[in-house]
Symmetry: D2
Subunit: 300 residues, 4 copies
């Protein structure tokens, strides 16, 4: 079973239970699907092994950092045609997606401010050269806000109230809940569509805020989602994972499994090959050295 | 016990066994020490819990990426005074240390080439905008080589033979084995010290190669090691880990433990505070949302 | 007279000569227009002063480096949706436009190769961390080509013949002559439109090359030209230049004049103010120091 | 005559006037020297042509942007061993030197603030992604200050009074006047040398400020000045300029001349060649096109 979102796996377990004995295994593409599967494991109802393709390094890291990093910027440009150079771009969240966006925004000449709730991530953002502050401060200085936290109401009434005239709001994270559209609708005295995917909200004091794509994922709404260059790796992970399950699925108990490391490596290897890039191989002496080293130096 | 390298823990187990019952726990600062401890676990001889401070995010990531990234560049400049802008810098290995060095070399205006044996890391380097190729090709184009692989003979005779006149060699990884000094000594017809920490090797065909600090760690030999800004986080991790062990060490079985996540967070929080940086806190609604989300959406 | 392209000035001189005595002066927005005006000066036929707004620092530098830099990348993304991270982007020409594009392409994670005919510019590109090579070599390694030279046939038959399958061609420079569409049409065995603004040319050996917007300016054809943030400075230069002419035009002889330095400064000052940015002012002591310094130190 | 600073030229005119008839021409390496020569021209006393080597593109741009950019950072690291990642670095002045330092500081992971008195330069800094503010604000947030303005008292008493404990001060510009050492000495209650080239000044309220190299040029005092890679271009300019003067000096009247464009190009070409880099040449059709284009399109 090749699933995307967890619906198929859920259906098989609920409505098509007669099929269960025939299922060797499945793989799941999304974060949401994996969360649902883990819940099934906790409840003891998952009946076959599932490989969480979503968590492959060649899926997770590349998709989110490089794919969404670019497509979120792309979406903002298509929706607004603003010049990023010299703008203050506030990125909420410094996980994979947030980091990708922050890097690309800086790459386009913006000054980037990061907001975070996790101190380790916040510190990493600082060390990567970004400004880090609380959203209540960032709200006052930002020209463009992009959320990527996976949480609700990251930008809300108290922030709208202090933003600069002309500030642009976009979400690259979760559904349409990160920028509180509800608060924005309540606080605004007028709303009009000024460009495709761009709504102007007029505040009681005359300031105008611009919301891209009704707060839904900017890279899907206003751009074209992931370029094929990152989707191909997801598909390769799925195909190789299914092949793996076909071979060994019967021996694996029910559960959520990571993508085997050798599949991850193989996908990366194929990708590099397709780009015409060759990398080094370990010499026999080097392999031996690594082995002995990992086995513990203090052996003698 | 606060250990750095694993020697103290080894000694206690071998020679001071009478102390063993009194030891509540230990923490270990280095990669080498942790490897030795894991070997002790495998052999069933470790008698108390040890926290691998080395693997704290606030130790591992920051030390290696930011600390060594800067200090390796610093070491090269002090040893050679070459202009990095416009140079081709070859970084061998794209782990934490290699990535840190590659970023900093690019930041100084160099064109950076990365070599790797791991396809996933190699692909990451490509996506981060670096050229990736085999060392046999990189050897022909590099002006400066910095190794950070943790393996032996990464640069060896076959590479020395094709390098450009004037190429500079430095090691930021493991002991003094990454650049094969033995091969270099064998292949060269003459050797002389041209600056402190810089030896010129003359090849039979007249080309000159320059080795920094006899192939030992460039950031220790030619610069001053980690700045205090990264050491303070290591020390904080050690102190808080010992405190943690004092409280709960008796309940923990023997073994190698990761630094508790809350200590990592606390170290980062203190560091941010010392930098005058404040970050957001989750609202009650946000905490609830995260909890319900992680518990599985498909619950209904 | 406020002109854009030189047509109005040409018409006044040829067909509306009765108006000439009333014209106090004019300003001209484009490179092309300024070139035409200079030709008129050489021929002794220009009858009034013209300010070359095009050459204001706040027009020329910002428009070309930051405006076209972003909009060329934007145009490529809209036309192709390719992932720039990890791609080899070849930028032909390292003038203002080329430099802007090269910076932004690097900022999106691409490896950038620059081609140039001017050694000083080529050297600057090298020092800025870009690879520089001849187009005949670059043609073999590039994934995306963007021309910005102001010359014809920068990419031509001999280059198409060695490009990789899938290479994308775009022009951000002059008309539609930089990529030789004529050669491409001749050399290809088949052509089809695969997306809006994107044509696929099939080579006799099966390789496919993709041309954006028929080789016309990628930022105009496939994106939306300059963002308002750079146009506002052009307009401000025009307005202030006209005001200047209204005041002093009668005293200025016929000719092409640069934008007065104080207008350039004023435009920049207004722009900064609109961004909420305040800058330092010289103290009286500093002004005095500068004056005496410029007057010559060796005075004594 | 090959001069560096203008002393030789001054001496020849004052004390060795008998030599004047024999002097074909001279070239001058420094800004200071050129300023003195221009003063001599104004006073009508310069008796032979002088080429201002200082103003060659291959001297001026490369020296200042790339050379001083790197060596100033290098000097700071040697003097302090601070970690730049995550620090706020305030660069005063965004001319060639300031821009070079700002780029390199960012490249090392710092957040860079620029201060300027010229609005056009300030705007350029903003568009390049740097924060721009007044020194009175920057003084409160900076961890490291580097001056590069060519003016006096850029950082002075009012700034020292609000700086953070631990702030580091360095000068990469003019003599030792940019950081007002006089004010610092007056305001401090204690001073001690904590490392070579690093003095700690204790403020009345206990804060400590650190001054590198007594406020003299950080790249000369604490590092090794320009790397040979930029000096070689200066020397090449001098040699070729002297050759040029030997050939044509007699025909040139007294005055200060720029380095002929063909020499600048030749120096860059030689430099590229020495780096193994080849660049494109114009085809005959391209040369013709450029010629006709520059001659005016509107010719018809």
């Amino acid at each position: 079973i090749l699933d995307d979102g967890g619906d198929m796996n859920a259906m098989v377990h609920r409505e098509l239970q007669s099929l269960l004995p025939k299922v060797v295994g499945a793989c799941e593409e999304t974060t949401t699907g994996v969360i649902r599967l883990r819940a099934m494991v906790r409840e003891g109802i998952l009946k076959y092994p599932v490989i969480a393709v979503n968590e492959a390094q060649t899926k997770w890291d590349f998709d989110n950092v490089y794919g969404t990093g670019q497509s979120a910027i792309d979406g903002v440009l298509r929706a607004t045609n603003i010049l990023l150079a010299g703008k203050v771009v506030v990125v909420a969240g410094y996980g994979h997606v947030g980091r990708g966006i922050a890097e690309r925004a800086r790459g386009m000449g913006a000054r980037v401010v990061v907001t975070e709730v996790d101190p380790v991530r916040a510190l990493r953002a600082v060390m990567d050269g970004f400004s880090v502050m609380r959203m209540e401060e960032a709200a006052r200085v930002g020209d463009l806000f992009i959320t990527a936290t996976g949480n609700i109401d990251v930008i809300r009434r108290e922030h709208f109230e202090v933003m600069k005239d002309g500030a642009v709001l976009a979400n690259a994270g979760h559904f349409n809940v990160e920028v509180s559209v509800r608060d924005l609708e309540e606080v605004a005295v007028e709303k009009r569509r000024v460009r495709p995917n761009l709504d102007e909200y007029r505040m009681p004091d005359g300031r105008r805020l611009y919301l891209i794509g009704e707060g839904r994922l900017v890279n899907l709404v206003a751009a074209e989602g992931h370029p094929s260059e990152v989707m191909d790796m997801s598909f390769a992970n799925q195909a190789l994972s299914l092949e793996y399950l076909a071979g060994r699925g019967r021996e694996m108990g029910p559960g959520v499994y990571p993508v085997p490391r050798e599949i991850d490596s193989e996908v990366a290897r194929l990708k590099l090959e397709s780009m015409g890039i060759r990398i080094d191989e370990l010499t026999r002496e080097q392999e031996e050295y690594l082995r002995s080293w990992r086995a513990g130096i203090g052996g003698a």
